[in-house]
């Protein structure tokens, strides 16, 4: 007799490469990797039809740990590379991944415009409120009063609110996940991939080395008490009063994704004529 659960063509393991991650033991990024591979398997995708694109940072190592096509790009430019790839190869499922420093600081401008362009890709940010790879500097999402050797009095700076910014900039799908819930995260990633347009998932992923207190996030997170909305005004009110620990889909918009103009398919010779000086 066959098993009751439906088995997709490939397992999550099929999406994991032979490279062993070099993250610190205890890092939340391990389970984010597991969630991505589970989601891809659940959607019955194949590695050769998926591209994982990243920038620089601990979490940006992720393309090497999958069997998908991968591009480990320049700091903060993952979304630029991912957008270009998706526009050139709309047949591919493009997943862009990185950390809060890479995505919101160095890549902050690309983040705004990727939301605005609404190209059909999924952006996963593993947010640990710190630059881990470069030894613990405060990032845009670091709390203003977090004290460390590198910020002995705290930054005193208001933290970035990525979900609000994503909504204001035009992202078509906004969700928050927690790395301690790999199945929940996998479900959200699968839903984000299926939703047309630019899908943004913030994954709270503790850095146990520089922010060991983030182990307590597992006590703080909870399912969002409200159903997803497609009304940006309602979503804005919710996100503005959000304490950062509500999990689930928080906004599911109806904007049509960016599509290349038909003229992009014109002959190379024609293009050359247009650009001739």
């Amino acid at each position: 007799m066959n098993a009751p659960a439906v088995a997709p063509a490939l397992t999550a393991q099929s999406f994991k490469s032979d490279y062993k991650p070099v993250w610190c033991p205890g890092c939340g990024d391990y389970t984010v990797l597991a969630s991505i591979t589970r989601a891809l398997a659940a959607l019955a995708l194949r590695p050769e039809n998926v591209a994982v694109v990243s920038g620089i940072g601990c979490s940006s190592r992720i393309p090497a740990y999958t069997t998908c096509f991968g591009f480990h790009g320049v700091h903060g430019r993952a979304l630029a590379a991912g957008t270009g790839l998706k526009v050139a190869r709309p047949d591919l499922t493009v997943v862009v991944a990185g950390g809060d420093g890479d995505g919101y600081s160095i890549g902050g401008n690309h983040f705004l415009h990727a939301c605005r362009r609404n190209v059909d890709l999924t952006y996963i940010v593993m947010d640990n409120h710190v630059y881990g790879m470069t030894k613990g500097q405060p990032s845009p999402t670091t709390e203003p009063d977090w004290k460390s050797k590198l910020s002995p009095s705290g930054t005193g700076l208001r933290e970035f609110h990525p979900l609000v910014i994503a909504l204001a900039s035009g992202a078509n799908f906004i969700a928050r996940a927690f790395s301690g819930d790999p199945s929940g995260t996998a479900s959200l990633i699968a839903e984000a991939i299926q939703h047309p347009g630019f899908s943004f998932i913030e994954v709270l992923s503790p850095c146990v080395t520089f922010r060991p207190e983030q182990r307590a996030w597992k006590e703080a997170v909870r399912p969002a008490p409200v159903a997803p909305t497609d009304d940006p005004a309602r979503a804005a009110r919710r996100l503005m009063t959000d304490d950062g620990f509500n999990l689930g889909v928080l906004y599911k918009g109806k904007r049509s994704p960016y599509a290349t103009a038909k003229r992009a398919a014109q002959e190379v010779a024609e293009l050359e004529r247009e650009f001739a000086l």
Binding site: P21, P182, T209, K218
Partner: protein, 174 residues
């Protein structure tokens, strides 16, 4: 001889039990990899052993059910309101300087959680008799695993205070 077709509730339960064992096995294997990468071969070997043991349990379920294809976890599954199966160790519990005793302590917690999970099923009302019967057997197995790990821990040195002190710490940032 063809096996008698198990009841739907029973098959669903066994699918969950299989996924629970496989998830635990995969997590221990991940832990072993992490410890290898961080040059802690002793703990890596122990996690590898625990992964193998859980994998054998999963294999046994497959054989008992006569499944040609292993069941897969549905993304929507919840385990006693917990996001992960009861025998799966949380990722954040690791430390690169941990010792075999810590790994066993982690394993013990997982076995105890699994034991509670099956005990609750045995006691829960409305559960099919076939499921209760096998849950009772599994609870007994988990009880035995708890006992074995407790004995194992007695043979392993308990870490001294300050075991996590590193003279060359990765967090050094002056």
């Amino acid at each position: 001889m063809t096996k008698k077709k198990p009841a739907a509730g029973y098959a669903e339960f066994m699918a969950r039990a299989y996924v629970m064992e496989m998830d635990a096995s995969e997590r221990y294997a991940d832990f072993a990899d992490q410890m290898e990468v961080h040059n802690n071969p002793e703990v890596a070997e122990l996690f590898r052993k625990l992964s193998h043991i859980e994998g054998l349990h999963a294999q046994r379920i497959l054989e008992e059910m006569g499944w040609k294809q292993p069941p897969r976890a549905l993304l929507s599954w919840r385990w006693d309101e917990e996001p992960e199966p009861p025998e799966t160790a949380p990722v954040t519990e690791l430390h690169y300087l941990m010792q075999p005793w810590h790994a066993l302590e982690l394993g013990l917690k997982n076995e105890r959680r699994a034991l509670k999970f099956f005990e609750r099923l045995v006691k829960s009302a409305g559960m099919p008799a076939a499921v209760k019967k096998v849950a009772k057997e599994m609870a007994q197995e988990e009880r035995e695993h708890v006992r074995l790990i407790e004995q194992w821990m007695k043979r392993v040195p308990k870490p001294e205070p300050g075991w996590d002190r590193d003279p060359d710490p990765p967090v050094y940032s002056d």
